[in-house]
């Protein structure tokens, strides 16, 4: 048994059964091992950022790390941005990177690069295997690391001789490191704060945003009057009928400061203190009031559900039904607007849909209009590195075995980063409906430019405008094997959406906004 075969068997034994891949020469022995060892589902992405983004979506919907297979330093670099997003989302990924043979590396061949340096800049755990006999052992350590602290990026670098040499040994799975238990003193301190009569916000992130966490948070809110809010972006939020109509911290710094101004104290439930995506001249980094007092109920690597349960127990907060969401909205009419599109999506989405939201500027106001949709999960771009939506949608569909409709609300500028994901959707016949919001510009940057206090001149407009030539998303999707059509109105969009929901495979709606 060679090292590659030992690694495939080790991964399977440890419960890693999906491999998102874009292999090169140095990974050929691993690919060969996949054919001799059944059980690993392999999914090809045509660029590495598609591969890593799929693994992110996979973890978010399954809670289980997949492995990736990338080629040397440059392949890792190509997939780095969506590893960054996965790191921010707390997604567990066993990130396998093939590399030069140990004895070839000193010769500084053309593809030789600082693979470890690149990996360290984005991974919670990095190891380079040194010989075939240890690849199995390194593999279980990588799986353990990927599963730790609610989910982490663990990168295992595999010099090609560690894969092709004989002497591979299958390693037994290591016990998972569970997320940290609640701190009783923190729970008591939070309970005191909630009873203090001061204005307190419970800021929810991570597992607190899934249905069981919401139910516990609601009991706390009903018992104490504390307000609830979600982080601006979250890996996964349970939404729609039977879930809490949570507000998010706004993206815009001024709006966030205003939304957070009422609160004397902020309780963090797996959240971090809210800060802007960027600093701006004369504006604060931290969006809470300067005199706001913070309490940490649970850190991101702790168990949010256990922490909320402890708080419920400490408070003696009784069970209480969630608020009614009201009737489902009516679809929008006429020319597309953010509100109209949000209502259309909410009206039409099937039960247990998965919304992958990389709508960037267009979608900032989608939340209030989708609270009464059928129960669904909403996945955000967390790390701010655009090019996440299409791969994430693909991985989410694969992780749910095509049993749930995925709706990818996708800005055009961001979509151009990883459009190759459409090909994988077509190859795997995934039920992904992409609503491509074509505004033919980097709209968010036009706003940011105006924040600079300037009117865009010709050079700036050249950098912010995606027209000249207009990008034709129907042709691009068709070229990658995905059926597509254009919509100019919300009625046309609704018709196409409804049609796509009845099909098995992917569909792209180019909505001119």
């Amino acid at each position: 048994m060679n090292g590659a075969q030992s690694l495939v068997r080790t991964l399977l034994a440890a419960g890693v059964d999906t491999c998102y891949a874009n292999p090169g020469t140095s990974e050929m022995h691993f690919v060969a091992a996949l054919d001799t060892t059944p059980g690993m589902r392999c999914v090809l992405g045509l660029q590495e950022n598609v591969v890593t983004g799929m693994a992110d979506g996979h973890f978010r919907m399954s809670g289980k790390p997949a492995c990736t297979l990338l080629h040397c330093g440059p392949g890792l670099a190509n997939g780095w941005a969506n590893l960054h997003n996965a790191r921010r989302a707390g997604s567990g990924i066993v990130n396998l990177v093939g590399d030069q043979a140990t004895w070839h590396r000193p010769h500084d061949a053309p593809l030789t690069a600082d693979t470890e340096g690149l990996a360290r800049a984005v991974s919670a755990w990095v190891r380079t295997s040194t010989r075939a006999a240890e690849v199995g052992r390194d593999g279980v350590a990588a799986v353990q690391a990927a599963r730790s602290a609610n989910g982490q990026v663990a990168t295992l670098i595999l010099p090609s001789d560690t894969c092709w040499d004989e002497g591979g040994q299958v390693a037994d799975p290591l016990p998972p490191v569970p997320p940290g238990a609640p701190d009783p003193h923190a729970v008591q301190a939070v309970a005191r704060a909630l009873r203090s009569g001061r204005r307190v916000l419970l800021l929810l992130a991570g597992a607190a945003l899934l249905a069981p966490g919401q139910a516990l948070a609601w009991r706390v809110a009903q018992a104490t009057g504390v307000q609830l809010m979600a982080d601006y972006a979250a890996a996964r939020v349970a939404r729609g009928q039977g879930r809490l109509p949570l507000r998010r911290v706004p993206y815009n710094t001024d709006q966030a400061v205003q939304a957070l101004a009422p609160y004397d104290e902020v309780v963090l439930v797996n959240a971090k203190p809210p800060v802007g995506f960027f600093g701006y001249p004369g504006k604060p980094s931290r969006q809470t009031r300067p005199d706001a007092v913070f309490h940490v109920l649970s850190r991101p690597e702790q168990d949010a559900l256990a922490a909320l349960q402890s708080l419920v127990d400490e408070l003696g907060a009784p069970e209480t039904p969630l608020p009614e969401a009201g009737p489902a909205p009516e679809p929008g009419h006429g020319a597309p607007t953010p509100e109209g599109l949000a209502r259309t999506v909410a009206a039409l989405m099937p039960e247990q849909a998965i919304v992958c939201d990389e709508s960037v500027s267009y979608g900032r106001g989608f939340y209030p209009h989708t609270v009464a949709a059928a129960p669904h999960d909403w996945l955000h771009l967390l790390g701010g590195a655009i090019g996440s939506g299409m791969p994430m949608a693909t991985g989410a569909a694969l992780a749910t075995a095509g049993q749930r409709r995925v709706i990818n609300l996708q800005a055009d500028g961001s979509a151009m980063y990883t459009l190759q994901a459409l090909w994988t959707q077509a190859r795997e016949r995934l039920p992904v409906t992409t609503v491509l919001l074509n505004n033919r510009s980097y709209k968010i940057l036009l706003g940011e430019y105006q924040n600079v206090g300037a009117t865009p001149g010709p050079t700036a407009m050249g950098m912010l405008d995606l027209g000249r030539p207009d990008i034709d998303w129907v042709r691009l999707a068709g070229g990658l094997g995905v059926e597509a059509a254009r919509a100019q109105t919300l009625e046309a969009c609704a018709d196409l959406m409804a049609t796509s929901f009845r099909r098995d495979g992917p569909f792209l709606i180019e909505l001119m906004v």
Copy 2:
């Protein structure tokens, strides 16, 4: 004057007049400064690897560094692979990366990443500006570094407050650091080796492969009987009528070992000892004979032309005409073959064409059939990170102001990495003819897989096959604004090529091979 304005003026004063950009929020002040300070040509790429690849092509054809404009750590990561290729090609690039404001960084906002760590893994020079008053000074240091040692990647990281704060100061250009002068002892040692009667190879790289270097190398060869060969890949080789019909070291390790076996001694002219792209079980890393003796006439960072001139002088080698290339070849006929396509390209290419070669496996045999083409430059993928060809072609066309026809011989798998470059070709109306070699597979990997000693099973085929669905490059190009057509025969390819050469803008020929 703010920091951004001081930087734009500083760059212009230092001769950096082209900016390849994919900006984000943290670069908006730099973009605003471009509008208030005329003189910088700005070219937008829709993904950062397009941006850095254009800058590589720009340097190769102009010998002058352009600057890039990238967004934070993930933007740098997206453009990292083509920076790696540029590093291997010895291309000078002033790589500007905007980042979080100095006082915002400690808050670990979502887009915060280890930008310096990423940069160090690919740059010869890295600096993070700390305040507006020093951005100009840092800028000239970056330009100096980019121009040193024949060309390097110099990364300047710009926290956004260093751009928007007032107090910017324009800095005077620093004197360029010229490439190292020849070492007289090395020249004498090489001259002795050439007179020794042993079988000697002069291995040429870098500037030795341009026309003046070739003329000098040919004088050495005629005076001493030394054999000449080029590195497998080179940043730029002058080829065609009136240039040397140089052989390259083969890619395949067995063939390379065979080609290099005759030589007792190898003289390196800006080349490194030839090694395989990858190590293989039971095969050597170094492709020369184990007992071969190496001489270094000039290191990659030295002046190859001066070194060759010194050698000519030391040998007293007289001027001598280059060998005749013979008549131009006839175009190929019928179904595409590598040889037939090479002959077709050679027969049709206009004078001073630029061939950007990312043909990967298909194009390994193109060289012998193109020696008698019109004079042209041939640009290779140097670092082995695929996704270089289309951006490089775009940058090469921009650097030559659209005055030279660019022919991009482009493999399909690699093209999928950076197809966004087509949009920039359309926007800038660049004379780029892309011959897209569509074999619907990662053909090179099929070969490498068979080297593993295995027959690809279904899993392996799933990783190596780009069919299911077939990618339609005519639609993809059309979606990005580039006119395109499919060819099934070499005659049809020749017709489309000739038509495209008469036009101003880009054209893509999808050649089914």
